[in-house]
């Protein structure tokens, strides 16, 4: 079978599922963030695959650029929050962090 749109979509579906699994099961906040990055990457693969097989219109690629920009902003803010949580609670285990303040 020739490599086409379906192949790229299935790769992105598996990547999405792996990211979702990391977000659900991992206890470490940093690993949850890595799962979110995997999910964003899988969404980007979809955008670019549809852009190519939908007539090479470039709109999908523009959307992918915005996804990358927001992923960078998200990673910076989330890591700042994680570092702050670590300073206060001395742990990054998302199960143990249940209070808004000490």
């Amino acid at each position: 079978m020739e490599v086409g749109l379906t192949h790229f979509l299935i790769v992105s579906a598996i990547l999405f599922s792996l990211g979702l699994f990391a977000v659900i099961t991992r206890r470490n906040a940093i690993l949850v963030l890595m799962g979110v990055e995997l999910i964003l990457n899988s969404a980007n693969i979809n955008f670019i695959a549809f852009a190519k097989y939908g007539g090479m219109k470039l709109d999908g690629q523009a959307a992918a650029v915005f996804v990358i920009i927001l992923a960078a902003a998200e990673a910076a803010v989330a890591l700042a929050i994680v570092l702050n949580i670590y300073q206060r609670f001395k742990t990054v285990n998302v199960d143990e962090i249940s209070a808004m303040k000490e």
Binding site: V3, V11, R27, N41, K57, I69, E74
Partner: protein
């Protein structure tokens, strides 16, 4: 098997195997470093999809920026000399069932759907950078400017949050 297919399977396997290591590895450092290969594999897939500009952006921002940021996060929040670096998982069985069913539905839908493929209107071998740049200065001008403000505010906010609190006199 053509060269295109061989390259596709090569990058797809790199992406999925290293993403599996990211998700299932017990060691956070191993996860962070195999995320590098995941991003690299995704970059290869972008190149196969004629997205040269996005591929370079992916390398610069994800590998050069976000991954380094995540590594800093790993090193600053774990006692490296300790065994603390290992992390557990929780509720693996229900999560596996849910994720497997979601993956099954997604793959099934992607496989069954008869996608209508529109042949490329422009030369597929042409660089997309000029077209994207023109697009950001015309059609997507407002979202582009808003995104730049969002990025600035987010980074200033991140610096504010991460700084140690000073006691107010």
């Amino acid at each position: 098997m053509t060269l295109y297919e061989a390259i596709f399977y090569f990058f797809a396997i790199i992406t999925l195997v290293s993403a599996g290591i990211v998700v299932f590895s017990k060691n956070v450092i191993h996860s962070a470093f195999s995320l590098l290969f995941t991003f690299f594999g995704v970059t290869g897939i972008y190149v196969l999809l004629n997205a040269d500009f996005i591929a370079v952006t992916q390398l610069l921002i994800y590998v050069g920026g976000i991954l380094v940021l995540l590594l800093f996060g790993v090193m600053l929040t774990n006692k490296v000399i300790d065994v603390e670096l290992k992390t557990g998982t929780l509720q693996t069985v229900p999560a596996s069932i849910i994720v497997a069913s979601i993956a099954g539905v997604l793959c099934g839908v992607f496989y069954i759907t008869d996608w209508k493929i529109i042949p490329a209107s422009m030369d597929a071998t042409k660089s997309t950078t000029a077209g994207l740049g023109e697009m950001f200065m015309t059609t997507y001008l407002l979202p582009f400017e808003v995104a730049s403000v969002v990025l600035l505010v987010a980074l200033v906010g991140a610096a504010m949050i991460a700084r140690k609190e000073r006691t107010v006199e």
